[in-house]
């Protein structure tokens, strides 16, 4: 066992950025308020002092512009890590992300590559209202040529961000704003986590919860509640949506025969639907109950806290949904 210590996701991300910048001089950061202001959520705190203004660049409010600069820099051999503060603002840079970053490697017949990382924030919970609270990862997961990462723990956040930076493809890296202070054990030394490997966060035998990012904690809480009733839930965290570790998901579903997929994106046409479809297709004969999904309510996220909470899945809802998959016990 390597030496471990307990740190937050914010600290884990900062370590990943600092380590990769020390390791590789082509890595640099760009974004709004990431330098002098230390980052709105403190992720980049101290990095401008450590690496200088040339490598930690404060940009104007200009998502389309600095995302395009990131694509360009990546094409010339740099490894930019740009920050789009809220994923709601990806809308402004969508052409750069979808039509440029995702396509160029393919359209140049493999001659060019875009090793760009876009860090961005998702999730409701801060009363930040409809334009700052969405979880739009399904949009980019829909696009071939982009990788999509959604860590849920400090360990995963650090290991996955380092892999994302070293990856030669454009990677959109979603950070949940409510999870930033989640603590967890992280090794002291160097490690990476490959993209496309799911993690079983809790082992169980009766029902599988497939949970992403913010919903992993919800799934773990629900599993704990169900354990009191004698229902043993397994929690699978895919960690990356693209590539998606189908094997681990299917293996768990084949074992338990029951599955609830939980993700903070909107329910309709979302991540949960994609995973449900894969299960229906490839594990149909192993299902002992309908595949259930929980996602954000199909409404603009309200600002008022009680209403906002009502739109996001919680542990009680997950428990009720899971219970509905069990009939009468003999």
């Amino acid at each position: 066992m390597p030496e471990m210590r307990e740190i937050t996701i914010v600290e884990a991300l900062r370590e990943a950025l600092a380590e990769e910048m020390s390791r590789d001089p082509t890595v640099f950061l760009m974004g709004e308020d990431i330098g002098r202001a230390n980052g709105v959520f403190n992720v980049t705190a101290g990095l401008q002092d450590e690496f200088g203004k040339e490598r930690v660049i404060d940009t104007p409010i200009s998502e389309a512009g600095f995302t395009g600069m990131g694509v360009g820099a990546a094409l010339t051999g740099m490894r930019p890590v740009i920050e789009i503060l809220f994923c709601d603002f990806m809308t402004l840079a969508m052409d750069q992300i979808v039509n440029q970053a995702a396509k160029l490697h393919y359209m140049t017949g493999g001659q060019a590559k875009v090793p760009l990382v876009i860090r961005t924030l998702m999730g409701a919970g801060r009363g930040a209202a409809a334009q700052h609270s969405q979880s739009l990862h399904a949009w980019v997961a829909h696009i071939p040529g982009l990788k999509v990462v959604m860590p849920s723990t400090p360990y995963d956040a650090k290991g996955l961000l380092k892999s994302a930076i070293r990856d030669d493809n454009p990677v959109v890296f979603f950070e949940d704003k409510m999870s930033y202070q989640v603590k967890g054990l992280v090794p002291v030394g160097e490690y990476t986590i490959p993209l496309g490997v799911a993690d079983v966060k809790r082992v169980g035998g009766d029902v599988t919860f497939i949970a992403t990012s913010s919903m992993v904690q919800v799934a773990l809480a629900a599993a704990e509640m169900l354990a009191q009733e004698g229902i043993s839930a397994e929690v699978v965290d895919p960690r990356t949506l693209k590539p998606l570790d189908k094997e681990t998901i299917l293996e768990s579903v084949k074992k338990t025969g029951r599955v609830v997929i939980i993700d903070e994106g909107y329910l309709s046409y979302g991540v949960t639907a994609e995973i449900a479809a894969i299960i229906a297709d490839e594990a149909f004969d192993y299902l002992d109950a309908p595949v259930k999904r929980l996602g954000a309510m199909d409404v603009p996220v309200p600002m008022v806290p009680v209403l906002e909470q009502a739109t996001v899945p919680n542990a009680e809802q997950l428990v009720t949904t899971a219970r509905s998959l069990f009939g009468r016990r003999y």
Binding site: D288, A289, F326, G327, Y330
Partner: protein, 455 residues
């Protein structure tokens, strides 16, 4: 939201239950966990608790009517909720037919036809794998779906049944097909439980009698209509036939001097009555004697088990002695668990308590399970000696007659002594004559010299 009150499965042999008494009336408030209805099965009478807080909905199975396992008996409704809303929630459960108040037959799980089966893909896959016909499988899943556990359970039942399924003579098979008799419901009376022509004819007649009672006396029974056995009587009939026909019995009898036994009982009786309020019986002491002898002879404290590789036996670690108790319409065998570890006072009070509950039909399944040996005493009816049918899968049963003064030859002279006859029935698959004889000898010694219980 309406919460269904349904008939749970209380034991492996249970297929249906009868509502004996509603403890609450429609519209009455109920609390979660509060008993609402009393149910009688072939083995026990038990209460079903309210699954939620609310008021009791319409009663769908009236007192005296039967329901299958899982059958809806009523609902717990929220205050102000009507049955219509409850019925709407029922439409997602296609297996049970629409509950129509008062019509018990409507609540019976109907034989499902092909297109009406709702089974999960996993259940279908398992059914295919195990060769199970899904139309026969009871559903326990949400919305009345058949789930994998149902298929597994059903397959287990089938394999247990098929092992016990007696052979059928060719004539009987043909006749059964002609008369439309289901062979699995017929009790064979031929050698080794083989179903013979007469059995089919009897089953067909019984079915006819049951289908249209009262009937004109059938040809076979000019004395009166056939009464189809039910409840405990039927269970006893089926069990005894199976036990007696499938278990190779042999019997060992000994007459023992009961002087010390009766003296011991007379001496302890006032003492135990004073502390426990229970009158010590000869049976109580014999329970202790049996338990002690079984500890000394673990080879008798075994049960029979079928295995895929043939006959097997299980060496029981506990000594649990069942006592046969006569009821008005049958017999039950409540078990005194770990009788070897109990004092006579404890045995007496435990025995008095279970026998009383047996007589009023309040035994739980747990009272009847786990026996490793059975004691049956007909002494109080003036029986001298008799041979009992083994309570399979146990290996032996002890039949005890009355204590009576009898002439006994002692050292060349005839003396009058209180004696009793012990008759052991043993399963020859598990125990041989000499082993049985040594066990009987220990029993006899402990009865004649009961102070040995103290060593």
């Amino acid at each position: 939201m309406a919460t269904e009150i349904y008939l749970p499965q209380l034991g492996l042999t249970m297929t249906e239950g009868t509502v004996t008494r509603w403890l609450k009336t429609t519209g009455e408030k109920v609390k979660r966990g509060e008993p609402v209805v009393e149910i009688e099965t072939d083995k026990v009478t038990t209460e079903i608790e309210a699954p939620a807080d609310g008021v009791l909905g319409p009663i769908l199975v009236k007192e005296g009517e039967k329901a299958p396992i899982g059958g809806t008996l009523s609902y717990v409704l929220a205050e102000g909720e009507t049955l219509e809303e409850a019925q709407i929630s029922r439409t997602v459960a296609p297996v049970t037919s629409q509950p129509v108040p008062g019509a018990a037959e409507q609540v019976q799980a109907p034989p499902r036809t092909g297109e009406e089966i709702f089974a999960t893909p996993r259940a279908r896959r398992k059914a295919h794998e195990l060769g199970v016909d899904l139309t026969q499988v009871p559903a326990s899943g949400p919305g009345g779906r058949i789930v994998e556990a149902d298929v597994r359970w059903f397959a287990d039942q089938m394999s247990a049944q098929s092992k016990e399924m007696p052979r059928v003579s060719p004539v009987a098979r043909r006749l059964a097909a002609e008369l439309g008799v289901d062979l699995s419901t017929v009790q064979g009376t031929g050698e080794g439980g083989r179903i013979r022509r007469e059995d089919i004819e009897r089953a067909a007649a019984a079915r006819k009698a049951a289908a249209a009672p009262p009937v004109t006396p059938p040809v076979l029974t000019p004395a009166g209509p056939i009464e189809v056995l039910s409840g405990v009587r039927r269970l006893v009939a089926e069990r005894m036939t199976r036990n007696f026909t499938s278990t190779p019995h042999f019997y060992l009898t000994a007459e023992v001097d009961a002087s010390a036994l009766t003296r011991m009982r007379d001496g302890l009786l006032p003492r135990i009555e004073a502390t426990t309020g229970t009158r010590l019986t000869i049976t109580d002491i014999l329970v202790k004697v049996c338990a002690r002898a079984l500890r000394e002879h673990p080879e008798v404290n075994v049960t029979y088990a079928e295995t895929p590789d043939g006959p097997g036996l299980i060496r029981q670690t506990e000594v649990n002695v069942g006592i046969a108790v006569a009821l008005d319409d049958g017999l039950v065998v409540p078990v005194i668990r770990q009788a070897d570890c109990l004092t006579l006072a404890e045995i007496a009070s435990k025995r008095a308590e279970v026998v009383e509950r047996a007589r009023v039909g309040k035994l739980n399944l747990s009272d009847l399970e786990g026996g490793t040996f059975t004691l049956t005493n007909l002494g109080m009816f003036g029986v001298d000696h008799f041979q009992a049918i083994i309570n399979s899968p146990q290996a032996a049963i002890l039949a005890v007659g009355r204590v009576r003064e009898r002439p006994v030859a002692v050292s060349g002279t005839v003396l009058i002594r209180p004696t009793l006859y012990l008759t052991l029935s043993l399963d020859h698959r598990l125990v041989d004559g000499a082993q049985g004889a040594r066990f009987l000898e220990s029993l006899a010694r402990l009865i004649e010299e009961p102070y040995l219980l103290l060593d």
